[in-house]
Each structure stands twice: as structure tokens, then as C-alpha cells.
Amino acid sequence: MLIAGAFGLGALIVGSIFRPRRPYAEKLTPYESGNPPVGEPRYRFSVKFYIIAMLFVIFDVEAVFLYPWAVVFEKIGLYAFIEMIIFIVILFAGYIYAWRKDAFKWD
């Protein structure tokens, strides 16, 4: 764990050493094909992105539940397998509900 931290820190230091420190006081407007920028760049965006984010949280937590189960699979045997199938079936019901509500439809 410590090593990983050191590694990340190392990457950060390397990244900052490599950068040239010769800043010009040159201001550039955001790129818009050479035209002056029009309007506000951070405008309102599709609500679909929020839905995807929420679904991601649900499914990712589910995936995290599956990991320890998968690792000790050999030791816990049939009983845990059936339990996990029930869990996946319940989750799948929610998944089908989201599908029927067009949460995955994109337009």
C-alpha cells in the first residue's frame, strides 16, 4: 500500500519536473474554430447523464458485493451460490425496470 502511495507521488513529482517553467503572459480564448466564443460554455446538459451516473452507483456497488463472494467461492459452496443467484435475480428485476422505463434509451 505504501509502495502504491510512493508510486503515485513519484508520478506526480516526475510530472511536475518535466514541465517547462517558461510561462508567457499570453492569454488565449477557448478554442472555437477561430471564432470568438459564443455564449456560456458551461450550459445545461442532458439529464440522461445523471441517470447514467445513478445507475452506475447501483451496479458498481453490486459488483463490489460480488467480489468477496467470488474470491471465497470454493469455501462457501452451494448455499452461498443460491443466495447470490437470488441477489442477482432481484437486481435483474431492477435492471429490467430501468430498461422498461427507457433509462438506457438515448435521444
Partner: protein
């Protein structure tokens, strides 16, 4: 106790020796991977060039072999432009976070028996966590640049990365069931008992899901919507120039290499091959990784870009059910056999 007493206390020398060995390992891994990143850009242009009946880079050195060095030198001495309205602190850290996340994942990859920087028990989980962390770099750069292109690119990319991350995480559960471990070294060892010393035959569904998700995770064609040149110029890093751009670019290629390593280790048996290659313990891993990197180029030269709704549909409606099916089948076989 003074500083010197602490340093020369018995046991402390051992610790320092260990730290020294680890630092050397890190230096070796980073050096090798960075060289691979540089030449991956060259071979990408060369391979795609020849696939499209062009020559690719030819000018710098013999058949353009020095091109990556020329590119790097150019990027290194390029002026670093920061747009006037950018959110400066976030703009600064975004590429560093991208690179940090990509480089950290390298720590848990075993290149051959016994050679791994950090032999974590949660290797797979660590790589998945780091690839999620990479999404932060993308979101932050997209947001901080204060440009419409990068904003849209960042949004698209983050939605895509998190969608495919679920499928990727689920596709690896089958491997975990088979190996009974998340440690990548143990996973390779567990595969020795299987045909060709690989999980690919019992896990072909998981392998398929993993490969598709890996292409989407690394923003490669046919899922390169975040960087679609024809609509978004370059997506989230439009406003980045010089070395910062190079950091993003390096992070992307390191991500490719990591995904190739992970696919080789989890599904193709890592450093084990059908027969032994003497004196070069990492030869098989290298061959497999090169194959996957070649596959990236091949697909890029062959397949057109997906539409965004198709992309999301593929991720959520096809890959996730397939991955869940794979888990159920794997578990069932494991119970019955």
C-alpha cells in the same frame, strides 16, 4: 533517539534495503513502460499507415524510427498555454491525476514470476479503482478548460467510462471465481491447471465482454466518441498544449498497455505459455501484450466510430447481461464439477 540512531538501528537497514529494491523495480517498470508508450505511438502510425496503403512516418531516422523522440522533444519545448477563463488549479492537476492513476496501476502487474512492484491481494480491485480515478482527470479537464468542446468531451467520456466500468468489473468476477483470488500472481498460477495454461476457454464470454469494455475504457476506436475529431476536435483535452497534452497522451497509452496486460494475465495465462522460452521469463507476457496492442491498431484501422446511443445501448443492454450470465454459468459449473 536521534535520527542517526534510528537509521542505523538493527532492522532499519533491512527496511532501507527493501525500499531501495522497490525503488529500483519502480524505476525499471516506469522506464520500460515509458519506452513502450513512446514506440506505441510510432507503431500505431506505422501500422495504420501500412493498413491504409501509406508509409506512415518516414522522415526522422531510418523509416521514421526516431519520430517518438522528435515528438517528445517538440512537446517538451512547446509553450504551455492556459486559457484565460480556465479554472486554474483544476486545470493544473487534471493531467497529473490522469497520469498518476495510469501509472499507479502498473504497480500491481506481475511481469514474470516474482517480479511485481506491489504484490497486493486486491490487485484487480486496485486496477479497477485506478481506472475509475482516471475518469476524474477527464471530468476535471473537461470542466476546467471552460470550452464547449472539452465540456462535451468530458461529459461523454465520463458517462462512457463509468458505463463500461460496470461491465468490465463484472466480467472479471468469473476469473475471480475460477482463481479464488484477486491477486494477479495467484490468478496466473491458478491458470496453470487449465488447457493451454489460460482461462480463455472456460471464460470466453467474460473475455469477450472484457475486451469490448477495455476498448471503451481506454477511449479507443470504435468507442472514441470523447475525442471524435470530426465533431469535438479532440474532446476533453482541446485546451491543453505542450507537456500537459503529452501527459494526457501518455496516460491514454499507459491505460492501453495496462488493459493489454490485464487481459493477458486474467485470460491468457500471463507469463506462462504453451512451452517454455528459456532465459526470458517475460517473453510470453510480452508477446501477448504486443498482440493486444496490435489488436487496438487493427480495430482502429478497420471499424468505424459508434453513435453515442449505440455505445450506451451496447454497454448497458448487451455487455452487462452477458457479464451476469457469465458469472452465473461459471458459478454453476464450479458447483457441479
Amino acid at each position: 533517539m536521534s535520527f542517526f540512531e534510528t537509521i542505523f538501528a538493527p532492522g532499519a537497514v533491512d527496511i532501507m534495503l527493501n525500499i531501495g529494491i522497490i525503488l529500483i523495480k519502480i524505476a525499471v517498470v516506469v522506464g520500460i513502460v515509458m519506452a513502450h508508450v513512446a514506440y506505441a505511438t510510432y507503431f500505431e502510425r506505422k501500422v495504420i499507415g501500412h493498413m491504409q496503403v501509406r508509409l506512415g512516418p518516414m522522415r526522422v531516422g531510418f523509416h521514421g524510427l526516431l519520430q517518438p523522440i522528435a515528438d517528445f522533444t517538440k512537446l517538451f519545448f512547446k509553450e504551455d498555454i492556459i486559457p484565460a477563463n480556465a479554472d486554474k488549479p483544476i486545470f493544473y492537476v487534471a493531467p497529473v491525476i490522469s497520469l498518476l492513476a495510469a501509472l499507479s496501476s502498473l504497480a500491481v502487474i506481475p511481469f514474470f514470476e516474482g517480479f511485481v512492484v506491489a504484490n497486493l491481494n486486491i490487485g484487480i480491485l486496485f486496477i479497477l479503482a485506478m481506472s475509475s480515478l482516471g475518469a476524474y482527470g477527464i471530468v476535471m479537464s473537461g470542466w476546467a478548460s471552460n470550452s464547449k468542446y472539452s465540456f462535451l468531451g468530458g461529459l461523454r467520456s465520463s458517462a462512457q467510462v463509468i458505463s463500461y466500468e460496470v461491465a468490465m468489473g463484472l466480467s472479471l468476477v468469473g476469473v475471480m471465481i475460477m482463481a479464488g483470488s484477486m491477486n494477479l500472481t495467484d490468478i496466473v498460477k491458478a491458470q496453470e491447471a487449465y488447457p493451454l495454461k489460460a482461462f480463455i476457454f472456460p471464460q470466453f464470454l467474460g473475455f469477450f465482454v472484457f475486451i469490448v469494455a477495455a476498448f471503451a475504457e481506454t477511449n479507443r476506436t470504435p468507442f472514441d466518441l470523447p475525442e471524435a475529431e470530426s465533431e469535438l476536435v479532440a474532446g476533453y483535452f482541446v485546451e491543453y498544449s505542450g507537456m500537459r497534452f503529452a501527459l494526457f497522451y501518455a496516460a491514454e497509452y499507459i491505460g492501453m498497455i495496462i488493459m493489454a496486460c490485464l487481459a493477458s494475465i486474467c485470460f491468457l495465462g500471463g507469463w506462462n505459455g504453451p512451452f517454455e522460452i528459456p532465459y526470458v521469463p517475460f517473453a510470453w507476457l510480452l508477446i501477448k501484450v504486443y498482440f493486444f496492442i496490435f489488436l487496438y491498431y487493427w480495430v482502429r484501422a478497420t471499424v468505424p466510430r459508434y453513435r453515442y446511443d449505440q455505445l450506451m445501448g451496447l454497454g448497458w443492454k448487451v455487455l452487462i447481461p452477458l457479464a451476469l450470465l457469465n458469472i452465473t454459468i461459471t458459478g454453476l459449473i464450479k458447483i457441479l464439477v
